[in-house]
């Protein structure tokens, strides 16, 4: 198993394992068209760190985070998220675990077009059964924290790409998940907006007992990572420290 080194632990708290993947195998298709996408992935992701998963298109990055999130099930191997083995959870319990534990940021934002920014940001809390008033209050606070206090009641179509991604960040964090999974968060943004989004994500999503996983191609944002895991052809090829660690 390849255990990746996290950032230097502080004196009072050693990083814990947020995600542990053991021998993950994932295949798609059937019969002769069956394709193995993940070839026995072993990977530990620690708390308090922003871990990037990088690699060429089709190398299995998105499949890996889908398996980590419990959205896809693996043919073989085991995923543990904060000590919870996902394989033993039934559909409903897995959905509830995901709702409580994981926040998502998608490349295409996936905001609901009929909801305002504040309503979009409150969705995970509503999924977790919070009252509308509490969800709305918390979403508005968080949107203000990411600089969108002037845009709370605007619909996604009225926001720029960068603003939409900030709403998506607020949505991912509103229920204070312990793990944030972000898929190409800057792919639809220009360089400036991308830097701003990653800075916000680092500022608001990370803490000692939380972890962030970012799948990206965008080497302009590599300096925000604590560690970078490289994948190729469904295998982990190694990990490294980011190029400009002083950016942290």
């Amino acid at each position: 198993m390849l255990t990746l080194a996290g950032p230097e632990p502080t004196a009072d708290a050693a990083p814990a394992v947020a995600v542990r993947c053991s021998g993950i195998v994932k295949e798609f298709g059937a019969g002769e068209t069956r394709v193995r996408v993940l070839h026995g992935i072993d990977l530990d992701i620690e708390t308090g760190a922003m871990t990037y998963i990088v690699g060429p298109s089709g190398c299995g990055k998105t499949t890996l985070i889908s398996v980590i999130a419990g959205i896809l099930s693996a043919e073989a191997g085991e995923v543990e998220v904060f000590g919870q083995r996902l394989g033993v959870l039934s559909g409903g319990r897995l959905a509830r675990f995901r709702a409580e534990t994981i926040g998502f940021i998608f490349q295409q934002f996936n905001l609901l077009p009929a909801l305002t920014a504040a309503e979009n940001a409150s969705v995970p809390l509503l999924v977790n059964g919070a009252s509308e008033s509490r969800a709305s209050r918390r979403a508005r606070d968080l949107l203000a924290a990411v600089g969108l206090e002037q845009h709370l009641d605007k619909f996604p179509a009225e926001l720029s790409g960068g603003q939409q991604q900030r709403v998506a960040i607020a949505r991912a964090l509103v229920h204070e998940p312990r793990l944030v999974i972000s898929d190409e968060p800057t792919a639809s943004l220009d360089a400036h907006a991308g830097q701003g989004v990653m800075a916000l994500l680092r500022e608001h999503a990370l803490s000692k007992d939380r972890a962030v996983i970012v799948v990206t191609h965008d080497n302009r944002i590599f300096h925000f990572a604590d560690r970078i895991v490289r994948m190729s052809d469904g295998r982990i090829m190694g990990s490294e420290l980011p190029p400009f660690t002083e950016a942290h």
């Binding site: 998105t62 499949t63 985070i65 889908s66 999130a69 959205i71 896809l72 559909g91 409903g92 959905a95 509830r96 675990f97 995901r98 709702a99 409580e100 994981i102 998502f104 998608f106 490349q107 295409q108 996936n110 609901l112 077009p113 009929a114 909801l115 309503e119 969705v123 995970p124 509503l126 999924v127 977790n128 509308e132 898929d183 190409e184 792919a187």
Partner: protein, 381 residues
């Protein structure tokens, strides 16, 4: 999440309008046609419904419905009166005659002969003239729509004369009746006068109208009449249903109306079902995102069913309202073809259930897509 489901629904105005109008049109088509069908079926037996005093109709055994009359001997009346359990029995004549107006117009009409003494069978709503005026020689009562058919340019008035088979008759009363199946003038007169008008001579007794003694079961009394006279005796309710069932079996009415109702259901399923399916398909990525965020399938089902229920309820209410407006405006004139038609609550309830089934089917077909949607699609660009 219910509010989010509704916002998703109301956020797509074009599809919402398509869904609501599809359901409204379907409801309008089905309720209007089903109500018309019920109305026409009731018209076939309107004479029985309107003749409220008797609760037993006695007739020749071959008769299957009220319009096909086979006369009995006049003496049958006395035999029916002699059956235990019969409180009273009166003769009733039903025939057709050609009426000639003073202007020379010809009009086929129904002639009803009522018991000379009691005038049982005369409609209760007399809008001009009086019941007793029928006792005068040559006196007739005519229905309001029939008057307007015979004298289209004249206001309702008494004293107008017509010829029935070369015999003069004078309008002594104008009555309002339940609309009949055939839209011919209805002429009410004394039994003896009706026989004279129609020149049919003796033994022209169409029906004996009887009433059972209070406390006696009319059906049992009818069976007693049958066993003692060899005639057919039916309670009013039995005769009404027998007449309606005859028309159901022997005319194209159910097929015609059934076809349009079926068309309404098809329009409902096709337009509403496909549009709703399209709405769900276009929002599939949103459902997938919610699923990825941990929304359970049960709550997703709840959201889609709520969306379907709201569309169904609005469309149904709109369609029902349009049907009501149609009947309200179309039936306002006493001579309108639609006179007497209405929207029975049973039809409204039945179509409501049908609308629920249509929306449920639409939701089930669409739900399959939602439930099998791969939440991983939200990671694809």
């Amino acid at each position: 999440m219910n509010r989010i489901a509704l916002k998703m629904l109301f956020g797509d105005t074009a599809k919402l309008l398509g869904l609501v109008f599809g359901m409204a049109f379907s409801t309008l088509l089905i309720t209007q046609q089903a109500s018309m069908f019920v109305g026409i079926m009731q018209r076939t037996a309107s004479l029985i419904s309107e003749t409220r005093e008797p609760n037993i109709w006695v007739m020749d055994p071959v008769i299957e419905q009220i319009d096909a009359v086979r006369p009995m001997r006049d003496t049958e009346l006395a035999r029916v009166r002699g059956v235990p359990g019969v409180a009273w029995a009166v003769p009733f004549f039903k025939g057709q005659a050609v009426v000639t107006t003073a202007a020379g117009g010809l009009q086929s009409s129904f002639v009803y002969g009522l018991d000379d003494v009691t005038l049982i069978g005369l409609p209760h709503e007399i809008i001009m003239g009086g019941r007793e005026a029928l006792r005068r020689p040559d006196a007739i009562a005519i229905d309001e729509a029939g008057f307007e058919k015979l004298w289209p340019t004249q206001p309702l008035s008494l004293g107008e004369s017509i010829e029935i088979n070369d015999r003069r008759a004078v309008v002594a009363a104008i009555v309002r009746t339940a609309p009949p199946f055939q839209t011919q003038p209805l002429i009410y007169t004394r039994y003896s006068q009706a026989l004279a008008f129609t020149n049919n001579g003796r033994n022209q007794l169409s029906y004996v109208l009887a009433r059972s003694i209070p406390g006696q079961d009319p059906a049992a009394v009818a069976r007693e009449i049958e066993s003692r006279t060899g005639l057919k005796a039916l309670t009013s309710e039995e005769f009404r249903w027998k007449t309606m069932m005859y028309f159901l079996r022997n005319t194209g009415i159910p097929v015609n109306f059934g076809t349009v109702v079926l068309l309404g259901v098809i329009v409902g399923i096709a337009v509403v079902g496909l549009t709703f399916n399209m709405f769900v398909t276009e929002n599939l990525r949103q459902y997938a995102a919610l699923k990825a965020m941990g929304l359970t399938n049960a709550r997703l089902i709840g959201m889609v069913v709520l969306q379907a229920a709201v569309v169904g309820a609005i469309g149904y209410a709109l369609g029902l309202g349009l049907t009501s407006v149609f009947f309200e405006t179309a039936t306002s004139s006493p001579t309108s073809f639609f006179r007497g038609f209405y929207l029975p609550w049973q039809v409204a309830l039945g179509v409501g259930l049908l609308a629920a089934v249509i929306m449920l089917l639409s939701a089930i077909v669409s739900l399959r897509r939602v439930l099998v949607v791969d939440p991983a699609i939200v990671f694809r660009g």
